[in-house]
Symmetry: D2
Subunit: 197 residues, 4 copies
Amino acid sequence: MEKEKYELRYQYVVGILKAKINIINEQLSREYGREIIREVSSRLKKPDSIHAKLLRKDYERNFAAAKKKLNDLIGIRIVCLFLDDVYKVAEMLQKQSDVEVIKIKDYIEKPKKNGYMSLHMIVEIPIYLGEQSEIKRAEIQIRTSAMDFWSVLDYQLIYKKNVSGAEEVAKELKGYSEEIAALDKKMMKLRNKIDKI
Amino acid sequence: MEKEKYELRYQYVVGILKAKINIINEQLSREYGREIIREVSSRLKKPDSIHAKLLRKDYERNFAAAKKKLNDLIGIRIVCLFLDDVYKVAEMLQKQSDVEVIKIKDYIEKPKKNGYMSLHMIVEIPIYLGEQSEIKRAEIQIRTSAMDFWSVLDYQLIYKKNVSGAEEVAKELKGYSEEIAALDKKMMKLRNKIDKI
Amino acid sequence: MEKEKYELRYQYVVGILKAKINIINEQLSREYGREIIREVSSRLKKPDSIHAKLLRKDYERNFAAAKKKLNDLIGIRIVCLFLDDVYKVAEMLQKQSDVEVIKIKDYIEKPKKNGYMSLHMIVEIPIYLGEQSEIKRAEIQIRTSAMDFWSVLDYQLIYKKNVSGAEEVAKELKGYSEEIAALDKKMMKLRNKIDKI
Amino acid sequence: MEKEKYELRYQYVVGILKAKINIINEQLSREYGREIIREVSSRLKKPDSIHAKLLRKDYERNFAAAKKKLNDLIGIRIVCLFLDDVYKVAEMLQKQSDVEVIKIKDYIEKPKKNGYMSLHMIVEIPIYLGEQSEIKRAEIQIRTSAMDFWSVLDYQLIYKKNVSGAEEVAKELKGYSEEIAALDKKMMKLRNKIDKI
């Protein structure tokens, strides 16, 4: 029961956020005359993954604790083609008067130790359902297409930690993260040049 | 420009309302253990249709007047299978704390002169876009599948007013409206009987 | 494994048939200047339902027997608004040179004993997957929107056979089937009148 | 009329090819335990673009010539994450017994002069519509996500040929094509390493 209600609310929050992201995409695409957002996807953190995180963070392991402590029960991923578009989308999200940005972690400016890049925003929006309104939290990850490619390999490594050979692979993957960052910058600069000629 | 912004806002209002209707459908379907909403569609009133209505109502014919005076620039249609489900959906919509119901016209209880049946709700919802919030108005039509079938013929007659033969046809169509109303009631009652055995 | 391959093939057959139905809908809608098909849905017969049918028909109960003996493992439902459109769609399907119609059962012309109405076609189409081609069978049900409404109650009665009160309800439901048949005919005739004025 | 029929047929060919690509994706994703195809899109060559190509190639400029001479009236684009997946998808397409591969141009193995990379296949499939069957031709472009990113800038340059500064930009873009090719190879090799640990 509790779980069903949780899923319904999740679908609703995702529905509202996607409606917002769609209109932001339309607005920016018209303003800049090009495709800004390539892909929007969403996921609800699964029970075993919630459990693992509560354990890791040494929190109580129940549903109430999960809702209170974890910011990423609801996750939205936005993939852009170009680096600067990531920030354009983030800025538009911050301007929405009913979206409160709780925290921004710019893992593009300052990647994670393993090389992971993405702009993370923890946001809160009010949802109106039936007679009450509630504040709901979600994590929005915005990244380039190239960063998204990289993260596929990064994700596969999660399950191979502490395995012989993993360290060497992780080091190599980190190197590619830097190459991707450099490539994204060069492609963006070249796009600016093309716009000007 | 003005028109483009209008379309964007329309898409957004429709997106928010559809997210609401989806969750209402999920909630009711789970509660009653059957499909409640068959179909949700939306339309933006077209310029020539806006113009015609402003003319008919003797309003000024400009965009500002349209936005101020016409309630049905944004239209949402919800089709249910059973008669009582129409009212269940309407009730849930009224309970939404951010939806203000401005007017209800129950053309099921009291059909239009030509036989048209549907429950019409004019609603207002706040939308938050960029830095400002705005109140937006929409007309939601809720009807049964059988009423929806009927309205297809009714709609075709609109374009044939004052044509010889139209009056007779209209009278016949009105008679079928009554048959459909009776059928919807009988089917609903039979469904209740089946639920009980 | 066997089951997975079966599902993949099913999705493919459904994909091909839906592509055909879409183009038939486009062609007819353009020709007649109105919406012809309201809804297309599909389902794969579920294991327990397959098992029950094999048992009922006294066939061997294994996957090979199911594929050989049962015609309706793959089911497609097409819902039209008007009675004559059901036959227009059926005729177009028969004209497809790669679709072989194995059997037609016209439960509209001659409803089932309980009042059930629908046009059933068992069809075979060749599918080309990897190196081999195979002949696949599917059941296509075509009906009006009103018949589809009726069948929802009929479907609920299946699970209440031999229950006290079921017989009376079934009789009442059968009566409504006749009303719906009459209504569909009258609405079709009226549509023809409207077309002519 | 001619144009409408052309569009209908196009939608149908695209529908059939997409059904094939979906099932290929399912099969490969199950076999390799990862996402193989990221995105499938399609386009119908537009009249002005057809006209320009007929002119450029010095062909007669009419619809019959276009259908006979141009291979890419119907275009399908498939985007994979990894380099080897491009070839896996191509191989599966070639195995389809009703798909005849007329020509393969491997612009990945041997990029175009400007740096453009993609695997192009001209294919023919029979379509069965109404009473006749016809052979239809389409161009399928298969590429990696990184190549797809690159091609966005390449596409923008098309409209700026012979403009001052374009040559320098084109040279720079070509350099990035080589970087992308190198990156795609490294990421694929690293994925293989991860699979093995």
